[in-house]
């Protein structure tokens, strides 16, 4: 099953920023620091389905400077820059 969900995921001290999760490893979103994003960026991340408890998997890195990141979120693959991925904290699955 791809989607697992925990409505009240508490902040886990063993979580790490999404841009540090290794390519091909899965993680569960522990928290999103919405305050570091502006309104439009936060909305886009929500549109892409970023939410606590969602499983994410970094798939590819951009060829120049290892940026941006292609990440699987649920059944979708999205591209975001590392600076934005940093707002998402994940617990490796």
């Amino acid at each position: 099953m791809i989607i697992s969900r925990n409505m009240n995921a508490p902040f886990k001290p063993d979580s790490l920023p999404l841009d540090e999760l290794k390519i091909g490893l899965r993680g569960r979103v522990a928290s999103v620091d919405w305050a570091t994003l502006d309104q439009a960026e936060a909305n886009r991340l929500r549109h892409f389905g970023f939410d606590e408890g969602v499983t994410v998997e970094p798939l590819h890195l951009g060829p120049f400077g290892r940026d941006p990141l292609a990440i699987r979120v649920g059944r979708m693959t999205v591209a975001i820059r590392k600076s934005h991925a940093r707002a998402v904290r994940v617990v490796p699955a």
Binding site: D67, P68, G74, R81, S83
Partner: protein, 615 residues
């Protein structure tokens, strides 16, 4: 007369909405614009199952009713009945991607809440199956409370069933019930996930095609090489594939003008038709094959899902010049034409990024510059090989493209540090699944582009060449005078000539610059018209324009003319679309000023360098 029922087609980006719209309406489509905004309005006529007609409007793809771009705002406003130039739809057709239900159902739920009679098209069920996903559409139907029809729009499957369902919906409109009071994004998203999970019958883990392709196409080394290869093939094709159709079009126009010459007596009317109309329009229509080949590649890259990958690969490089990968697609489209390129910038969420992209888009060598480059290169650059498979002419052409790109990078760097400073730094895009595009969808896209181009050739270009013909033909020159210099146009261009003389331009170029403001390619038809009128002896009529130029222009002048066209904002349509996109005259005027300054300086440097080198 009652207006026909209006059905709006809505859905998330990459749901296959446009393909479904094409499948339902066929070629009976109209592409227009919503008043006041530059969002394209695609509408069409649908013949219902019982033979009655209905109007269908294809709304821009949106992730939710909370807009993050002008496109999404139009979608919301049409659905709420607030959009100028559109009546409130009578019914709604929601398109969702069967293999991405957990995301697409969020917008679908929000749309169903609007309470309009609604049908859901569960699209791309074939791709879902390819991914090992089996869905129960009846169960989804019960959960959503609206009819759900399975479709594969690009293969035209499920279209008849969908047509029957739309027919039933319009006969007996049934508004769906409200169920969710807490309709914010997060709650809708969670409910969408529950519904999607409930609709899945089986799911077998398979290695997804898209993932396999991406591991090659987004490979850190292979990815950029493949992108460079695709771009190389694309520009190669624009020149190589177009030669045969170009020769047919040339032969056709030659037959036409010979026919008219044979039928009409020599005089003003024959000169108007042969030199003015046929000569001017023919010089431009000849570039239709190249434009269509370029658009063919762009449409294919978009429809297969590769275009976003190109943006992904290029993002970091674009970031260094102050932009984002988002700007790559509009800038690549600008190689075909800056007008659709500038219109495509509306997908860039960040306003500063968007403005910068608009301002540098005219520096991408658009297809209208091709006639100018091709002619000058053919006339002045010797056709000799300087290496295996590398010709000097091709190298100069490549250099001109490169000069435009280099100019754009420098301009972006300067603009981002001065007039468009601040903001920026966002690149957020969905990477859609790879898909084999349907021949019909691509053909339809090309047909629409061809119509737009020919309409331009038939109106703006025909009009300006006829006006120019008149200005260049009257008053008639006295014996011993050159027709070009004694005409009205000759006197007007005296003023321009005074300005451009220091950069090596002659009187004929000054004359061509004015009408070339309408469209760059008119420069060629203008020069063609002028020299056709000016040729007194019958023998010179057989000479090609390139041969005539070779005799009249020194090489430094020709090179300066090329440098000028790399930068000059010679296109009314681009300026008009910039005004519309930026909501005022401030930015188009800024664009005109900085591009003319750059063109003047570049042409001047080129001319004096060439003169100094003794070319």
């Amino acid at each position: 007369m009652n207006p026909l029922p209006l059905v709006a087609v809505a859905g998330s980006p990459n749901a296959g909405k446009s393909a479904l719209f094409n499948a339902l309406t066929g070629a009976r489509q109209k592409v227009g614009n919503y008043p006041g905004v530059t969002v394209e309005r695609h509408s069409g006529r649908l013949t219902l199952a019982d033979g009655r007609p209905a109007d269908l409007v294809d709304l821009p793809g949106a992730y939710s009713l909370d807009p993050a771009s002008p496109d999404e705002a139009v979608t919301r406003d049409v659905l709420l009945g607030r959009q100028a130039g559109e009546r409130k739809p009578d019914a709604l057709l929601i398109v969702v991607d069967a293999s991405n239900l957990d995301n697409h159902l969020r917008f679908a739920l929000q749309l169903i809440e609007l309470g309009l009679p609604t049908i859901v098209a569960l699209n791309m069920v074939d791709l879902a199956r390819r991914d090992g996903l089996e869905l129960d559409s009846r169960k989804l139907e019960e959960a959503l409370g609206v009819p759900v029809i399975e479709t594969v729009a690009v293969r035209r499957r499920g279209i008849a069933e969908l047509n029957v369902a739309i027919n039933d919906m319009l006969d007996a409109p049934r508004c769906p019930a409200h169920h969710d009071a807490r309709a914010d994004l997060i709650h809708l998203q969670r409910r969408a996930r529950e519904l999607a999970t409930a609709a899945i019958v089986t799911e077998s883990p398979v290695r997804r095609w898209t993932h396999r392709l991406d591991s090659v196409l987004l490979h850190p080394v292979a990815g950029p090489l493949i992108l460079a290869g695709i771009l190389f093939v694309m520009f190669q094709a624009v020149f190589a594939w177009s030669q045969l159709p170009v020769s047919w079009i040339e032969a056709g126009f030659a037959m036409l003008s010979n026919g008219v010459t044979a039928v009409l007596p020599a005089g003003i009317l024959r000169s108007l038709i042969v030199d003015g109309a046929i000569g001017g329009v023919g010089a431009v229509v000849v570039f239709l094959p190249q434009i269509l080949i370029l658009f063919l590649f762009i449409l294919l890259l978009e429809a297969t899902g590769y275009m976003v990958r190109a943006a992904f690969i290029m993002d970091k490089l674009m970031h260094w010049s102050g932009l984002s990968g988002r700007s790559f697609i509009p800038l690549l489209s600008s190689f075909a034409c800056a007008v659709p390129g500038i219109m495509a910038t509306r997908t860039i969420d960040n306003p500063k990024d968007r403005l910068t992209t608009i301002l540098i888009a005219p520096l991408m060598t658009c297809s209208a510059r091709l006639p100018v480059y091709t002619l000058i290169i053919a006339a002045f650059i010797p056709n000799r090989a300087i290496g295996p498979g590398i010709g000097l002419q091709g190298l100069v052409m490549f250099g001109l493209y490169l000069a435009g790109v280099a100019g754009a990078i420098v301009a972006a760097l300067i603009l981002r540090r001065t007039v468009t400073r601040g903001g920026g730094g966002a690149f957020m895009m969905e990477l859609p699944k790879y898909q084999l595009p349907s021949f019909k969808d691509i053909a339809l896209g090309l047909l629409q582009r061809a119509q737009i181009f020919l309409k331009r050739a038939g109106t703006i270009i025909l009009g300006t060449t006829i006006v120019l013909w008149a200005l260049a033909s009257f008053p008639q020159a006295k014996p011993g005078q050159r027709q070009v210099e004694s005409s009205i146009a000759g006197h007007i261009s005296d003023g321009i000539y005074a300005v451009v003389k220091p950069i090596g331009f002659n009187h004929d170029i000054a004359l061509a610059l004015l009408p070339a403001m309408a469209a760059r390619e008119v420069a060629i038809s203008a020069i063609g018209t002028v020299y056709a009128i000016d040729s007194t002896d019958e023998a010179s009529g057989a000479k090609t324009l390139a041969e005539r130029l070779r005799g009249r222009w020194p090489l430094p002048t020709a090179l300066a003319f090329l440098a000028w066209f790399v930068f000059a904002p010679q296109c009314i349509s681009t300026i008009a679309v910039t005004r519309r996109e930026t909501n005022g005259w401030k930015w188009p005027l800024f664009m005109i000023a900085y591009l003319f300054a750059a063109a003047y300086i570049a042409a001047g440097i080129t001319y004096w360098t060439a003169v100094t080198l003794g070319l």
